[in-house]
Amino acid sequence: MSALSITRRGTVATGAWRPARMLGSSLTWTSAVYLGLSFFFGLAYFIGLVVGIAVSGALTIIWIGFPLLVLMMLAWRAAAMMERRLVGLAFGVRIRDPYRPLPKGANPFPKLKAMVFDPATWKDLIYLALRFPIGLVEFLASVLMWALTGTLLFLPLIVAIGGGTEVNVGVVSYWAGNPLQALPMSVIGAALLVGAVYVTRTMAIAHALYATFLLGPNASQAENRELRAKTEHLRASRARGVDAVEFERRRIERDLHDGAQQRLLAVAMDIGRARAKLDNDPEGARDLIEQAHAGTREAIQELRDLARGIYPAILTDRGLDPALSGLAGRAPVPVEVTVDLPERPPAAVESIAYFIVAESLANIAKYAEATRATVRVAREDSWVVVEIIDDGVGGAVVRPDGGLAGLADRAATIDGMVIVDSPPGGPTIVRADLPCSW
């Protein structure tokens, strides 16, 4: 039975079909209990679902119905989770929760949305609804079978305690006046017991399959869906990555063209004029050389800043902490930096984290009118979280072609996210979650 994944003690579908082995297996008896109680669970789920959904559905006329429906969904998901555990306990079948991962964060709305769009949520509902009719069948079969088997098997005991007993099965009736007369019935009961064990095990396998099918992940479908989603996601993030790189290259070209190139040209002109003046006007030539010298210094400084902007050497050499300290030291407002990483993340993560901080600090300097800022980089599970908070005026928005959007695009290339929270009046929080597999 490949459809059933196995726990340590095996499942109802594994192991020998010899009566003695089956009678000695705890699975047989846990299955019997589950099937015997099946009706009550089924009934409870059914009533809960029918009443709950009807009431909340009716109440959607006023707003209260919607949160009630949400509560119903949470309740049936919880019931399905409990069912998975019960099925595991009773039949030894391990059913993994098939739900899609919920988005991170404290905001409940994206979580609820993900639940609503998760097919597993609706398969749960189908399972629970079917549990009532199926449970009824299981319950009736189990109870009748076990009652008859038990009565016949223990008839000598019953007669010994309670006196003469008549056994009626359909049109056949049998009178046992004393325990000895009841013994033949015991033999029949023993035969029935073997039958009952077979029936129980068969029903258990059937129920386990039905539970696996509706409560478990559906292998091929899930895989296909996941692959499709992944491909789509990769295509989108690749496009964003390409755009981000192109944007970056345009910016570098523009900076070179508007900055250092123009300055050096001015320097060349100054020197050319100085050369012309050298004989007739040495004093003027000296001034021009002085001016050219200052110009070269400015050009060097500009090139330095540009190169650092493309990729800071210290980041490669020493990692985020010193690189961010350097950024903070050059910022116009006091910036407090804490970097708390057990070890260095991959280079791509380091550089994206660095540029997110650089861009945010540049924005703070330009627009925020802040008096102070804090930068925090920390590892949370398998994520590197970068957070930049300032106490400025707030109201920052991510413009489609702005620096922050470019950062979000770059973060997307490694499946990271950038969130900007900037209410008018501040404080502004820029937070990036970057995935990190060390």
Partner: protein, 217 residues
């Protein structure tokens, strides 16, 4: 005065040699990578080694490590590290091996010939010269409850100049005040930061730089 130069760019290397030559300083050897430096220093015992931070083979902080290795081979060798970018962390690494005869300057300071030669002579004589930009970075990084907040603007100026390795006389000239006023400022600064008042230029620089570099770690 004899120097060795470790610099991978031929253009800059030759420029440095000429610039030093104009000032009457002799270049006894040049190398183009990090690992070449310590043996040359051991061989020539120069009065100063001028080292570029970023050199082959790794093109990271090769020069800095080579400089520290050379100083281990021949203790007390004065070192001037030149870098396209100044980074406070490099400065604190460098100073970590003792601040006597140590310099850390932006490469472009070379174009201010007079000041550069002056720095070279000061380092060779056992002084300390740290680029104002590094000091700016170290001072710029403020934290809540930082004792630096207690300094007056004038005291901060004095602290920055002191950290660059300038003498009291030079600080006084720079700020156009008397040397006595500078001394008073300095003793106030040391008191406010809880540092032992240190005598002598490099010991004082060491105290200040250590303080600036380590107050957040």
């Amino acid at each position: 005065m004899r120097v060795v130069i470790a610099e991978d760019s031929v253009l800059l290397r030759e420029g440095l040699v000429r610039l030093l030559d104009d000032a009457g300083i002799e270049t006894v050897a040049t190398v183009g990578d990090g690992p070449g430096l310590p043996p040359v220093v051991a061989e020539h015992r120069p009065d100063l080694a001028i080292v570029d931070v970023r050199m082959p083979p790794s093109f990271t902080d090769e020069g800095l490590r080579a400089a520290l290795a050379a100083r281990e081979r021949v203790p007390g060798t004065p070192i001037l590290v030149l870098s396209q970018y100044v980074e406070e962390r490099y400065a604190t690494d460098l100073i970590g091996g003792g601040a006597e005869g140590v310099g850390y300057l932006l490469k472009e300071r070379v174009s201010e010939v007079g000041e550069f030669i002056d720095a070279v002579r000061r380092i060779a004589a056992g002084g300390t010269v740290i680029d104002p930009e590094v000091i700016g970075q170290l001072l710029g990084r403020r934290r809540t409850g930082d004792p630096l907040e207690a300094l007056t603007p004038r005291e901060r100026e004095v602290l920055a100049l002191m950290a660059e390795g300038r003498s009291n006389g030079a600080i006084a000239a720079h700020l156009v005040v008397t040397e006595g006023a500078v001394e008073k400022h300095i003793s106030n600064i040391f008191a406010k930061l809880g540092l032992q008042p240190a005598q002598g230029g490099h010991r004082r620089v060491m105290a200040v730089l250590t303080y600036l570099g380590h107050r957040d770690r």
